[in-house]
């Protein structure tokens, strides 16, 4: 049993929402409109599991929806990382104040909503009356004898066009993905090992010398452990050191890894 936490999004709700999520703005809108959600509390691994389980239940994986789901999850992770590390963004950002950023975001959400409504209008229009018509000339129509400019087209275009169809697609290069992979599970295992030896440690000492993505992974690992009731985290003041302390019994299911 997982400790009750009002910040968590109910999984059944998420499952419903997954059907309507189509893009990051959609996601953002849904998150914003549902005030109770704090993104930092959204268990991304669970969303992935819910999606995979549903795809499994459906018995088929629609490639288009799967790729959109990937884009969505990537965007969600990015937003989440930015929220977990609010300071760093400012150095890279274009110097917008929070108010400006909020106004800009609001304007973009409003613009996007407009096209969502237009898409709904189109969809309703198409559903109202099925329109079937012939595309192309009638089968027994007279064939054209139009005046053409002789030699107006370059025949090498044809060779190029066939060439495109004759070239096998390039192998998909996965090296970039491998390089960027940040294993949250590794941090889970590492922190659990540390907590078997010691009662507590600070976040800063745990991630010293690591890059930004590893910071994020480490933080996700800690959130997960907190969620599982394994640790409790304390922070004396804003931006102060975070102290992570063991809590109660040791976890029985160490292999329960996320991400």
């Amino acid at each position: 049993m997982r400790p009750y936490n009002p910040g968590f999004v109910n999984l059944t709700q998420l499952d419903l929402d997954l059907e309507v999520f189509q893009g990051p703005f959609d996601l953002l809108l849904a998150l914003v409109m549902r005030e109770e959600i704090e993104l930092a509390e959204v268990p991304i691994a669970e969303i992935v599991v819910a999606y995979v389980e549903r795809a499994y239940d459906d018995g088929e994986l629609d490639l288009e929806s799967a790729s959109e789901f990937l884009v969505l999850i990537a965007a969600l992770l990015e937003i989440k990382v930015r929220m977990l590390f609010p300071g760093e963004e400012d150095e890279e950002g274009d110097g917008m104040t929070a108010e400006e950023a909020e106004a800009e975001l609001l304007a973009r959400l409003l613009e996007y909503k407009r096209y969502v409504a237009a898409a709904a209008w189109l969809s309703g229009r198409a559903a109202a009356e099925p329109r079937v018509f012939r595309v192309g000339p009638a089968p027994l129509a007279p064939r054209p004898q139009p005046v053409v400019d002789e030699f107006s087209e370059d025949p090498w275009q044809l060779q190029t066009a066939v060439g495109r169809l004759l070239r096998p697609p390039p192998e998909i290069d996965l090296s970039a993905v491998r390089r960027r992979l940040v294993p949250v599970s590794e941090f889970l295992a590492r922190f659990r090992a540390v907590l078997r030896e010691r009662r507590a440690f600070t976040f800063d000492e745990a991630v010293a010398g690591l890059d930004r993505l590893s910071h994020a992974a480490a933080f996700l690992a800690i959130l997960e452990m907190w969620k599982q009731g394994e640790v409790q985290a304390e922070q004396g003041e804003v931006f102060g050191p975070i102290r992570i302390a063991r809590r109660g019994r040791a976890p029985a299911e160490e292999e329960r890894a996320i991400a």
Binding site: L39, A118, A120, L122, R131, V132
Partner: protein, 194 residues
Amino acid sequence: MSELTHTVEALLFVASEPLSVAEIATLAEAPPARVERALDALRDHYCEERSGVVLERVAGGYGFRASRETAAACARLVNRPSSRGLSQAALETLAIVAYLGPASRPEIARIRGVAADSAVAGLLERGLIEESGRGETPGQPVLYSTTVLFERMFGLEEGLESLPSLAEFDLPEADHEALRARLHLVADARAGQG
């Protein structure tokens, strides 16, 4: 029926896309006013219930389509991916191209907040959008516009003119405020976590 009516009927049948009154008048070598009258007679004849084929005003011209009662059987034949099969992403992209067109992929991506490549590719395949030149912005991105097929599939009588004004899809002002307030709330929650 008059000879002109027969000619208009044949032209509309043979053409692969809807024809405007002006085009018909040129091809039939008849004054537009007489063509209009011939079209009236044909519309009376080719209408729902009376005929399996319906003459409709669409895409700024006139064209034949299957009547309502026969649409199901005809759809089995034409085997065209229908508008019904369009994903939400494709519909949104289509709406953006219809209203903004010509529009480039980066513009579409900016509005949707996500890369538009697969939606654009799908719409190109279905013939609902087409390339229509290159933009002036750096990189000269390919621009896309909707096609006559799009106008026919969605039954836009006067073509893109028949789309409702974008302003009609605006959120009411009251909702702007609600959205702003909620954004604020999220921003506060974020600051609180820092």
